[in-house]
Symmetry: C2
Subunit: 302 residues, 2 copies
């Protein structure tokens, strides 16, 4: 089954203590689709400007990614610049230039409209809603990301799209802000009243936590001696998570747990190098190996 | 096999958003020995003042805890007062009155000197060393706790005792301070050069992480909707961890992993109520149940 993702395709300028790049392909939909394409076919919907070259598009070529929904508009692509602190756990945004992304109005190619697995990356909640309205029939699984901007500026629109989402996949600060609860269990209970029946909390260097009616499942972050660039880690996590589920597995508890592990695997690779560098050269067998390593990291027998 | 613990027995005044107690029995050796006594016999060495009553000693009665090494000195017992913030992840110390603990000079009763499992709770590194010098023969396992005060004020003394410790069990801030490394893997590698071959990092609401030559093992914190008082969580963790290992298990990788789980189990119970309230009424079967719950929290099949 193929997996639809709608979100940003961007150029990033990134500084970390481990280096600096002035312009590298990024954006939530890019990280997501590259990560997910190791597991399933991905249909990408986004917008780029006329600065997006064939060379940029090469990242999608030879992968199971259909970019016929990647609109090209006159103007420049979304641009983001940021700098990470020494420990990579904080960042400052140096520039956000929406450019053509500011006018983004997602239009799904006809062949994408029967998608059963959908990931709505972090964009305007109204646009996330408009994507779902273009879907024919009832999707199996809709997962949603959002951020503080929409939680603060568009609470009603966010509530509307949340009613239609099965899985909310956000970080811990967003979880606390949306629910007005510090405790993540109580936060999850609040979020369940808004629509989603599963909450996936991304906690950076502390891993990820899933809460649903089956209880709680935790995966640590993969211990790396020298992560270089956290950009795209959360979207790569989402790509591994949704890619695994869209590859034909019934989303039962065991499959959701594996999805959490594959999400963590893809997030851990993403941070090893700048931008998409590591995912670009990743091999399927490395994914399998790292998933086994996650087992060694967490498994015990009483 | 019995387990020796040397550390503080104190009275605590605790404020949290969930309540307030003016004077409750606490101290590292108290939490440790009550937690460990569910797994093995514990020999406690510490000092209390003449304000320590038979009623206070009742917590140890009926448990496998030998308090013949609990010295009674003229004066008042160690007193600590602290207040936790709303989310229980920060605290301010309101008072620290060392009292008789300021003159503490641990003397091991003869029958304690052949102990094979030893936990040196957070006290002066020189005293930790003097405890080991009283031990006859070679102990199987020496675990050590310390804190920022000793890392800053007694670095040479701390280095000396570290040479004789198998396991260092500290929190993440202490790990980073001692090693001058933010990254916990690099921090562990540094600490291994100082003596310990196993590092256990206590990470509060994020659980615990063990690093040794077998690699890394992570356990999340048990998700609780309403923890009340984090006081003693780390010492209860240490009690569960060392108690399990001292109960006759060879400290191989599988046993160390289980020790991490039982440590987390005991820490999670400790925070559920104020002071020792929860541990005091804990049943063995609740420990077994919660350990199984930790399995559900973390286990997956690829």
């Amino acid at each position: 089954m193929s997996l639809l993702v709608v979100g940003s395709v961007a150029f990033d300028a990134i500084e970390s203590p481990h280096g600096k790049v002035d312009r590298t392909l990024g954006g939530a939909a890019t990280y997501f689709s590259v990560a997910a394409s190791f597991f399933t076919h991905v249909n990408l919907v986004g917008v780029v400007g006329d600065d997006f070259s064939d060379q940029d598009a090469a990242i999608f070529a030879g992968r199971k990614i259909d970019i016929s929904g990647l609109e090209r508009a006159p103007g420049k692509s979304f641009f983001w610049a940021g700098r990470y602190n020494e420990n990579l756990n904080e960042r400052v945004t140096l520039a956000t230039e929406l450019n053509v992304f500011g006018e983004f109005n997602p239009r799904l190619p006809e062949k994408f409209r029967s998608s059963k697995h959908i990931f709505l990356a972090n964009i305007d909640a109204t646009l996330q809603r408009s994507v779902l309205l273009q879907i024919k029939g009832k999707p199996h699984l809709v997962a949603l990301d959002t951020m503080n901007y929409w939680i603060e500026r568009a609470p009603l629109e966010l509530r509307e799209i949340l009613r239609h989402a099965h899985i909310l996949m956000i970080n811990d600060a967003e979880t606390r802000q949306l629910s007005n609860e510090h405790n993540l269990l109580r936060a999850a209970r609040h979020i369940f009243t808004l629509g989603p029946k599963t909450l996936v909390v991304k906690r950076g260097e502390y891993g990820a936590m899933m809460v649903d009616r089956n209880g709680v499942f935790c995966v640590p972050a993969f211990p790396l001696e020298e992560p270089q660039d956290p950009t795209g880690a959360g979207d790569s996590f989402a790509g591994g998570f949704m890619g695994y589920l869209a590859s034909g597995k019934a989303p039962n508890d065991a499959a959701l747990r594996r999805a959490m592990v594959y999400g963590s695997v893809m997030g851990s690779f993403a941070v090893e190098r700048f931008g998409l560098e590591r995912l670009r050269h990743l091999k399927r067998r490395e994914i399998v190996q790292r998933a086994r390593h996650f087992a060694r990291l967490t498994q015990f027998r009483l």
